[in-house]
């Protein structure tokens, strides 16, 4: 009987963590005004998000054993991510193009390529997750993608990463002949020998 009680306690803790990750995601979406919820509720969600954030083990020091154990456990159990795929709305499609300036002054363009359909899904997920918002993470991801382009083009002197947002027409407009359009999001110039970054924004 005692072992059953231990199993029940373990399951309760496990599901509590699943619920915490899922609730945090919903509250965060509402707090950032990305949902249908009215402004007063979104404002309340912001307060609640602050409370939840303060209770997160990530607030503890990196060396703290509780933090290490809880975060290690959620990753080991596969429960660290929320389940709001394509929600509340499908995010805009981002596309990355690399403009390569070669030593002989000619310029070519390449898009990050994948070896297989599964790799293409992974690449798309990475770009959607990381390139949409300004910050260090976007720079790291673009440099990571750019470094593989540079490996394929050892004569490149400079590579420029251009990020654009793709807008596809609605079904009715598409039937009337409307085409997809692209809006400039940002660009980064980098040289691998000096690891130098210059970024440009619209």
């Amino acid at each position: 009987m005692r072992s059953r009680q231990l199993w029940i306690a373990a399951l309760a803790m496990h599901l509590l963590l699943v619920l915490a990750v899922s609730c945090w995601d919903i509250v965060d979406l509402a707090a950032r005004g990305r949902t249908l919820v009215p402004a007063p509720i979104a404002s309340g969600a912001r307060d609640f998000a602050h409370i939840m954030e303060s209770m997160s083990p990530r607030q503890l020091h990196r060396s703290n054993l509780v933090r290490q154990t809880v975060i290690g456990y959620v990753h080991a159990a596969g429960i660290e991510s929320p389940y709001s795929y394509f929600a509340p709305n499908v995010p805009p499609t981002l596309q990355v193009v690399f403009e390569i300036q070669h030593r002989d002054h000619h310029v070519s363009h390449k898009v990050p390529s994948a070896r297989s359909a599964t790799d293409q899904l992974r690449l798309s997920a990475l770009i959607d997750r990381s390139v949409g918002e300004q910050g260090l993470w976007r720079e790291v991801v673009l440099q990571m993608l750019g470094s593989s382009i540079w490996e394929d083009n050892p004569d490149a002197v400079e590579i420029r990463a251009i990020v654009a947002s793709r807008t596809f027409p609605g079904p009715s407009e598409f039937l009337q002949g409307a085409q997809e359009s692209y809006d400039f999001v940002c660009s980064y110039n980098f040289k691998f020998d000096t690891a130098q970054f210059e970024n440009g924004h619209p």
Binding site: L11, E80, F86, V90, T93, D119, V140
Partner: protein
């Protein structure tokens, strides 16, 4: 023990056959094998530390170190093995081969427990070491392998049980792990449905259009989908209802088959229409294992506990 405690214990430890566990084992074995085969062409490039300074593995493992030192990663496996003087590429192929072998053993039902633990550890290490490239499918495989590894193995359908005549013992623990998976799936679908219901474009079908016309999910010709555009709002609303209603309607006997069929149809459609075959497959496996093989509604029958 209080009545409430007894009801909870009865609900969480039902007597169950291990048919669902056999289904989960075979399904996850196939999924692990397909994962290995789909990653084979880029395996060395993905995990090699000799590639560019900012390789996916280096970035992912650096980020993991910031999260927790306890998260399994490929370098844990490579570093001790490197002392044997083997080349990194050889070690990486050994890692791939052992993961593939564990998937095959799970599918066949041989050495189930060691194969389940190995598959969980190696798959997790590989996924975490390329976490920047992870997507939903990886998480669900990790979830499935985590439950499988802890469940009472080997199941009575495995080759191992047949050869060595291993008697199937703890039926209540088998039921407990199926309950855990069932409850987990209910949380997953409820929050997934709730998040969709809070978005404007699931109600008018525009999110369905956006999902199936964006690369790399644009498997079908948009013209074909646009001609059937009048169906898009109904499809969007149906998905929201299936997901948010899952924790309610999957339990009663009367609605279970309808909901399970709807969810399986939804994941099959996602797999085919969006090219997410492995994602569709893992969701079908988890749903069939949780609610497809046995009667889960004992607790709720006629509103009373059935004893």
């Amino acid at each position: 023990m209080t009545t409430c405690g007894k009801r909870a214990a009865f609900f969480l430890f039902p007597k169950k056959s291990d048919g669902w566990l056999a289904l989960l084992r075979v399904g996850l074995g196939v999924e692990v094998v397909l994962y290995c085969l789909s990653e084979r062409s880029g395996w060395i490039d993905t995990f090699s530390s000799n590639s560019s300074a900012l390789s996916a593995r280096r970035v992912s493992e650096a980020l993991l170190s910031l999260e927790s030192a306890l998260i399994p990663r490929v370098c844990w496996l490579l570093k001790p093995a490197a002392h044997l003087g083997l080349r990194e590429s050889t070690l990486l192929w050994m890692l791939w081969s052992v993961l593939l072998l564990s998937g095959l053993l799970l599918t066949l039902g041989l050495f189930c427990r060691p194969a389940a633990v190995t598959a969980w550890l190696l798959h997790l290490a590989c996924v975490k070491s390329t976490d920047v490239f992870a997507y939903g499918m990886d998480n669900f495989v990790s979830i499935g392998l985590f439950y499988l590894m802890l469940s009472p193995l080997p199941d009575s359908y495995s080759v191992e049980s047949r050869i060595w005549k291993i008697r199937f013992r703890d039926v209540r623990m088998v039921g407990f792990f199926q309950r855990a998976l069932q409850l987990h799936l209910c949380i997953i679908y409820f929050f997934s449905g709730l998040a969709k219901c809070l978005g404007t474009d699931w109600w008018n079908g525009l999110n369905i259009w956006a999902a199936v016309t964006r690369p790399p999910f644009n498997v079908f010709d948009p013209m074909l989908i646009a001609k059937w555009r009048f169906l898009l709002p109904a499809v969007g609303i149906t998905i929201c209802l299936i997901e948010i209603g899952y924790p309610i309607f999957i339990w009663p006997r009367r609605t279970r088959s309808i909901w399970l069929t709807s969810v399986l149809a939804m994941h099959s459609a996602i797999g085919i229409a969006m090219g997410m075959y492995l994602f569709g497959l893992i969701m079908i496996i988890l749903n069939l294992a949780a609610f497809g093989s046995t009667n889960p509604s004992v607790f709720y029958q006629n509103g009373h506990v059935k004893r």
